[in-house]
Symmetry: C2
Subunit: 456 residues, 2 copies
């Protein structure tokens, strides 16, 4: 509660005349002083002053009314006015705070609901939560359904030192996850559920992330120094948690669909390429080499997505080439070679039926163009060839050279590297070849194979 | 503003002693009456009463102070106290309203952000908006980027009679869409932008749906009877609009990805089936027949999705069968026939690599099982065969019978229908055959072909 200034109160334009009217009606001599003894008002100063009455607000003396005995009620009146003023001010503060809270919550809701990346949603939620509730650390954990553990998705402050995973049935957070009920624990170390190894914090407030009746995780704010978290904090955190849970679940659904999309397209592409049940390798390697090169060239996110999908589907057109030609072990006739070359255009024809994939046609159609204009199908050169096609050309050739085929052994890495260098500027875009070596694609490939998830 | 009761004010436990103290200090005879003349308080009633001073709050007389001339300041004092009380009460009301608004807005935000269907998001937003702002109609329109028109996505009340599309540069709503600025129009018919044909409403309030700086649509509330919409309404509608825009955009992204997924899988499946550039038909027909049957059987949403995808991919395993066998025009040897039959298992092997599609394996692997247990690959019978496989078996056979192949003409519809009836209970699940006829699949197929969007 802000302290009331007696001076300001007495000089308020609607208080002053009321006060003077009353003083005149009483007719006594009056002096009003503030708590420090400064005179704020005097009236009828000729008469005797025999009494000092304090002006008290919430137990604090904010000033004095000095006069004869009859002036004491003036002190009560001023005290009442000051009390009203203080109450009004508190209410105004509360209203203002509610407005601020609405704005903050609404900003959060808008940011959160326009985001389809689960990790980013979690980060946004944590960042915004810090603005509402004090603490030295915050964290958001989600249940990993495969491992059965609560995994820290994002955290900051002292919660950064927390274990990155936790059992969903142990410790305070585990108990909140299991019961699905938000809690304030203002003395963490004294809580019987506290287990050694948990972050040593003094106070915490933690809410479950719930979708309907299913708990998917927890959100926690904690403080190293004791804090008295209140029911108001808890209510706020619950509100944030329910918003966060909905947005995270949405983002996860989007993520799963994206993953399903890429994995399915990839598997079908491998299947088509191999013309027999999945034994793949080429598609994946070309994709990983291409992505590694794309990262070095700092392609935009949109171009990286185009690159991914066109690398996966670069040979899709081979479905249009007959077995007898495609699988022929001996030397191809000119006619047969022309037939093989047609796969680039077949690829375009297939993709033309998928409006959402039209933007990957250049990568698929032109991955056999050469930088000097001597490639196929259109004899494009240099920048005329889409960047994704120039990248796939290098990745594809490198994998073709280093893989064994029915009719020949694969080249050694050294010889393949030498070939890329030799043809930089003629067959290949020299910048892409430079990026290929900077990317350390071999490492990228092994890393990719170790990844659990097909696309990050 | 609620009217202040003078009686309640004077008897408040912290007002009464202050008032009595002042009256005693003044020492005059005083009577206080309310506006109706009822006496609320009398003091020192023995002296003369020569004056009547009104107690005025916001221009209203709420009572009288009657006494000698010296008592007039008491009226001013009480008026001041009443004014304070009224202000305090308004502030308290405002705070309460803000609390209610937070709860309502938050409920909306939570509902909206947990929804990934654009039409459903729009409906939720409209339903919630009605709770906040009075009107006889509401509508939400989105720009259809293909037609360039504002399309009504959802509406209610008098807005239901509105044109379902509107030009984005005409009329009041068009102007709000174009400028991206929310507006109140309290006299619609007098607005120079009003064009005949627009809904005849008296007042409206309309806000653009914006993603960053891009306007994607509008949300409108209107009233047949004149209403004085205020800046407060406008602010609220803007808040709702920004939340709605974010959620709708998210839902649309999800929808687009889903569409891309299905279209791509479908196109690749057709491509694989045809082994030459897209000329398809079988995959689409089997899918549409299957979905029509599934709807009659009232499958769950989850089963319908499984049915869709397994129908699309039912022959994916044929990629593993050699051209020489698959494309052979003459009679197959037993060995070659065994090779063909293997496509069911090849299908399983391919799909096993896509964890998100594992649940469609039964539909793909078992679409050649027979109801009597004499099919392949596992000789399952009746309910042992997944419902999706039993449906696809009927759809697939019907299409095989009615399509022309290199080595024979397709059967007439009548003969094909007769074949299905004849084999119901032996080759086919009799309930599925019944559903096939109830579904009128031929009509379903032609309807499907007329649809712009691949999946609804």
């Amino acid at each position: 509660m802000g302290r009331i200034s007696l001076r300001k109160l007495l000089y308020k334009k609607d208080v002053a005349p009321v006060l003077h009217g009353i003083i005149n009606a009483i007719g006594s001599s009056v002096t009003i002083e503030d708590a420090g003894g400064a005179v704020l008002l005097t009236a009828n100063d000729d008469a005797a002053k025999t009494s000092r009455s304090p002006v008290t607000v919430s137990g604090d003396i904010i000033g004095w009314v000095i006069g004869d005995g009859k002036t004491a009620p003036i002190a009560s009146m001023i005290a009442y006015l000051a009390g009203m003023e203080s109450e009004r001010r508190n209410l105004a503060d509360e209203t203002l705070n509610k407005y601020k809270e609405i704005n903050l919550l609404y900003n959060m809701a808008e940011k959160v609901s326009s985001c389809l990346d689960p990790g980013e949603v979690a980060k946004l939620v944590i960042d915004e939560t810090k603005k509402f509730i004090d603490g030295s650390g915050t964290s958001l954990k989600l249940l990993n359904e495969e491992t059965g553990e609560l995994e820290t998705i994002t955290s900051c402050g002292n919660e950064c030192n927390a274990h990155t995973t936790a059992a969903p049935d142990k410790g305070i957070e585990g108990s909140i996850f299991t019961t699905g009920k938000a809690e304030i624990v203002n003395d963490v170390l004294a809580d019987p559920r506290y287990v050694a190894g948990e972050n040593k914090v003094s106070s915490m407030i933690c809410a479950p992330l719930k979708i309907k009746d299913k708990v998917i995780g927890t959100i926690k704010i904690s403080s190293e120094n004791p804090i008295n978290y209140t029911a108001e904090h808890l209510k706020l955190l619950n509100t944030i948690a329910s918003q966060a849970a909905a947005a995270i679940e949405n983002a996860r659904l989007y993520d799963e669909l994206k993953e399903a999309f890429f994995t399915t397209v990839y598997t079908l592409a491998e299947t088509i390429e191999k013309r027999d049940p999945y034994t793949g390798g080429h598609t994946k390697r070309v994709m990983e080499y291409s992505l590694a090169i794309g990262r070095v060239l700092a392609l935009s996110e949109e171009d990286m997505t185009r690159l991914k999908l066109s690398a996966i589907l670069h040979d899709i057109g081979k479905i249009g080439v007959k077995d007898s030609v495609l699988l022929k072990a001996g030397k191809l006739t000119d006619e047969e070679f022309d037939e093989i070359k047609r796969h680039a255009v077949y690829g375009e024809e297939i993709l033309a039926h998928i409006k959402q994939l039209k933007n990957i046609i250049p990568g698929v159609k032109y991955h056999h163009e050469k930088y000097n204009g001597k490639g196929y199908p259109d004899g494009l050169k240099e920048e005329e060839i889409d960047i994704t096609a120039r990248i796939i050309a290098v990745a594809d050739s490198f994998d073709a050279m280093t893989s064994s085929r029915p009719y020949r052994e694969g080249l050694s890495l050294d010889i393949a590297f030498e070939e890329l260098r030799k043809h930089a500027g003629t067959q290949f875009d020299p910048d892409v070849v430079t990026a290929f070596f900077a990317a350390d694609v071999i490492e990228a490939f092994f890393e990719a194979n170790a990844r659990g998830k097909f696309f990050s």
